[in-house]
């Protein structure tokens, strides 16, 4: 049987790099085919070839649709051939309604006028088909990211797309939204749609995919049937080397001793905290109490919108108005936090959105590394640039940032290396308490391991780490204790020996009492 889509010996060169080398790839109708690989392995480049962003003629090799050589000169050509790409940067217009977005650029018409009735009727039909209970007139801007992604899929399907390419669709979704998406994708597969699925989350890949192709350094390494693949095997192909335990949380004697020593005086103590977005509004966080000691990793989990990011941002002083409650940092009350003061007192935050909140992209690695701690390098009113350089180099090397030097601009680094710079900037402030918000989002397996190693090192040095993560296995692997947040309240607290995916998830969904009973 001819495959629906076939890539033969695709090679794509950029000045100085070979992004793809002789990649072979086939996709059959009614198949979900996962693409796995570290950042920079060539997944995005391959998608860009398939979707016509890199036009025919800019690469070597052949692209075939239904067995015939396809020459895409732009996204529209690929769209006409039935290929739709849904990326992390969603192409929806927030101000327009769901219906308008679905029919963007091709509204049903009656003569010269847009036929609004018909548009809303058909949109409602499509949404119902997809099991989405949403009014078609609703502005897309009011939807969460999960729903937005589904709207894009609805749009792609209505355009009679036969091939759906999903690039990291689950990165911004909660577990329940991922489950819903999975259900939809399985239904589409049964109806004969071919799906290319790209995700860093291997458990998802294994739950969905019929076949898995691993890319490494621009080459297609192997294509496996799901039955013959295992997670360790795929990871080994991705990194080209064996990886040890995926979540190497160590409670060493050093970190345990530090925790014991600070047991009576936790580094950070929060009592009955209530926080509103701004003064006078209803609190978004309520009744939050916890303590974290030196050498400990406290994990925060919860569904999207549970208030995890808001909690970290508030403790750091970058969000919200404290309605009530007390925070003690290293034994001192800390009633009115702000980022500068937090850093001086030894509390630092590495934000989840590194491009928006973490980095000055236009500047060098060194500029970013020392930005939060310039005060340490000032002598007689001026920055001692030699001392700064040496201080940065220590971090640059210990974090193993992959770049030719600290003068390289941050915007050109891969996601994992950018994340290392964000972490380095936080560590440069010599903190006592480190708040990490989704430190491994969108980075590859190798870089993830290095982040886990770093967390271990921090606790051994007697620091306290507060970790927010959407991935339960990661949260369970790295934390000593986990607090699940549910709609701004604590849904449950779990010690390491009580960790269990179902119980944690139940706590996140407010069913702790039920499952405990």
């Amino acid at each position: 049987m001819t495959p629906l889509l076939e890539a033969r010996q695709l090679t794509k060169r950029f000045p100085g790099v070979m992004a793809l080398r002789e990649v072979n790839f086939t996709l059959a109708a009614g198949e979900i085919h996962a693409l796995c690989g570290e950042n920079g392995a060539g997944k995005s480049t391959l998608i860009k070839l398939l979707s016509g962003i890199h036009p025919h003629g800019s690469y070597e090799g052949e692209l075939r649709v239904d067995g015939a050589v396809a020459e895409f000169h732009g996204i529209r050509d690929a769209g006409r051939a039935g290929i739709a790409v849904i990326t992390q940067e969603l192409a929806l217009v927030d101000e327009l309604s769901i219906a308008e977005n679905i029919f963007l650029g091709r509204p049903p018409r009656r003569g010269l006028r847009v036929d609004w009735l018909e548009m809303h009727r058909r949109a409602a039909e499509l949404l119902a088909d997809f099991g989405l209970n949403l009014p078609p007139e609703m502005p897309v801007g009011r939807l969460g990211i999960g729903h937005k992604q589904l709207i894009e899929i609805v749009r792609a399907l209505d355009k009679r797309s036969r091939v759906l390419v999903l690039d990291e669709p689950s990165a911004a979704l909660t577990e329940s939204e991922v489950a819903a998406l999975t259900g939809h994708l399985e239904r589409l597969r049964r109806q004969g749609t071919a799906i290319i699925y790209i995700s860093h989350r291997l458990d998802e890949v294994f739950a969905l995919a019929d076949r898995i192709t691993v890319l490494r350094d621009g080459a297609s390494i192997v294509t496996l049937k799901r039955e013959e693949a295992t997670i360790p095997l795929v990871i080994r192909h991705m990194v080209g080397r064996e990886l040890g335990d995926l979540f190497p949380r160590r409670r060493t004697e050093a970190s345990a001793a530090a925790a014991l020593e600070s047991a009576p005086a936790p580094l950070l103590a929060v009592r009955d905290l209530a926080v509103a977005a701004s003064a006078g509004e209803a609190p978004r966080l309520r009744g939050i109490s916890f303590e974290v000691r030196a050498g400990e990793v406290l994990g925060f989990g919860g569904l999207m919108g549970a208030g995890r990011t808001e909690l970290l941002m508030h403790l750091f002083g970058a969000w919200g108005h404290r309605a009530s409650g007390e925070v003690e940092l290293r034994g001192q009350p800390y009633p009115r936090p702000n980022p500068g003061e937090s850093i001086r007192r030894g509390l630092v935050l590495a934000s989840e959105d590194r491009r928006r909140f973490g980095l000055i992209l236009d500047q060098s690695i060194g500029f970013n590394l020392s930005l939060s701690s310039l005060g340490r390098f000032v002598r007689h009113g001026r920055i001692d640039q030699a001392a700064e350089f040496v201080g940065n180099r220590a971090l640059f090397e210990s974090l193993r940032v992959k770049a030719s030097g600290q003068e390289v601009r941050v915007s050109g680094l891969s996601g994992g290396n950018q994340q290392k710079v964000v972490l380095g900037k936080a560590l440069q402030t010599a903190p006592a308490v480190v708040l990490l918000d989704e430190p491994t989002r969108g980075i590859d397996v190798g870089a993830k391991l290095e982040v886990y190693e770093l967390i271990n090192r921090l606790t051994e040095e007697g620091k306290a780490v507060i970790l927010v993560s959407s991935e339960l296995p990661e949260l369970m692997g790295v934390s000593d204790r986990i607090i699940m947040l549910c709609e701004g309240r604590i849904g449950g607290t779990f010690e390491r020996d009580e960790f269990n995916q179902e119980r944690l998830l139940a706590a996140a969904m407010g069913r702790a009492a039920v499952s405990a009973a």
């Binding site: 909140f357 980095l359 000055i360 500029f367 930005l371």
Partner: protein, 377 residues
């Protein structure tokens, strides 16, 4: 690894050469020592204002009020000297304080009330213009009484004795050489790439030559003007602030990504207000020089100078969206702008055409900034 100067870095000197060459060809008196002296005085004014604007633009903000401010602050000092018989230093100090108050207020309004700087300073442009004309009663107020020189009038009429001028030039060149050499050896000591010695030496000799040539030509008229030393001092301070202090780093960081800067613990509001206060300082200095240069405060002093300052910055590679630019670039941009305006005046180009030429240069510079910004992303 950069071992050769890129075309982009050569673009500014080449543009300057082209402008200079064109006017010298049209009118040989262009490089005559009298005109060169005038050009340098005008450059000092545009350059000082542009250096203030540079720090505002670095943060991604803008200030449209500085042209009116130049007139107002110069006018206040002139009225105090001429109508109230204040000693010049006291009058300058009072006007200087007024500038600080006004720009602190504007900066605070922009930061605390979160009103776009474009709107606040557009309001400032009109309000300061009105205040200016009120202060000088729509008339012409000389900067000195009778023929007696005072500190105010001397700002643009005092020239450093030739020997002192040469000595200053020598000190400048020696200092520059020392700085460059130390920077290179530091970079080498840390294993960083340095440009080839030939290029570095060549560039240094070229700069030294231009400085010496300029001093000799200036000495052939009356010497190095005091206003150039004011610009030099301002440039040194701005260079130190932007390249060697946390405040300067923060200007770049805020312009690059304000949210990330705030989360890095930078007191964004304070830094922004600081930039506006420094803008006030530059406005006061420029106001005094510009008013002294025209001999009296009249309603047209400072007209459109905000646009020349912005154009100088953008020509010199300062990004309008913030986060990128250098002092050297701003100075070169200001020199190009001044060379153009001065040349057109010398050729007696009509004011209509001068307006159009200024507009074309500003538009071209911004267009280049925008397309360059796109190429980087």
């Amino acid at each position: 690894m950069i071992t050769r100067p890129s075309l982009q870095k050569l673009a500014l000197p080449l543009a300057l050469l082209a402008v200079g060459g064109f006017f010298a060809w049209q009118e040989p008196a262009y490089f005559g020592s009298r005109n060169l002296t005038q050009l340098i005085v005008e450059f000092s004014m545009t350059g000082t204002l542009a250096l203030g604007m540079f720090m505002i633009l670095l943060t991604g903000q803008i200030d449209l009020s500085v042209g009116s401010g130049v007139g107002l602050i110069g006018g206040v000092a002139a009225v105090l000297v001429f109508q109230h018989d204040w000693p010049a230093p006291a009058a300058l100090l009072a006007a200087f304080a007024a500038a600080l108050v006004l720009w602190t207020a504007m900066g605070t309004l922009i930061v605390r009330q979160r009103i776009p700087s474009f709107i606040i300073t557009l309001g400032g442009l009109l309000i300061f213009k009105g205040l200016f004309w009120l202060v000088i009663q729509n008339s012409t107020i000389p900067v000195a009484r009778g023929d007696r020189d005072n500190l105010y009038s001397l700002l643009t009429t005092y020239y450093v004795p030739p020997a002192v001028g040469l000595a200053l030039g020598a000190v400048l060149i020696a200092g520059l050489g020392l700085m460059l050499g130390r920077a290179r050896s530091h970079r080498r000591a840390h294993g960083l790439p340095v440009s080839k010695s030939v290029w570095a030496a060549g560039r240094f000799v070229l700069v030294a030559g231009v400085v010496l040539f300029a001093i000799v030509r200036l000495n052939a008229f009356r010497g190095v003007p005091l206003s150039l030393l004011i610009l030099g001092g301002t440039a040194a301070v701005v260079y130190f602030l932007t390249q060697h202090t946390p405040f300067g780093r923060y200007l770049y960081a805020i312009g690059g990504n304000e949210e990330a800067a705030a989360l890095s613990g930078i007191a964004v509001s304070r830094v922004l207000i600081g930039a506006y206060v420094l803008m006030g300082v530059a406005v006061a200095l420029t106001g005094f020089m510009t008013t002294a240069y025209s001999g009296a405060s009249t309603t047209t002093v400072g007209d459109l100078m905000e646009l020349d300052a912005i154009a100088a910055c953008v020509i010199g590679g300062t990004a309008l969206r913030g986060g990128r630019g250098s002092v050297g670039g701003v100075l070169l941009g200001a020199l190009i702008m001044t060379a153009l305006l001065n040349g057109m005046t010398l050729l007696a180009v009509s004011p209509e055409i001068k307006f159009i030429a200024r507009g074309v240069v500003l538009t071209l510079a911004v267009w280049m900034d925008v397309s360059f910004g796109r190429a980087r992303n």
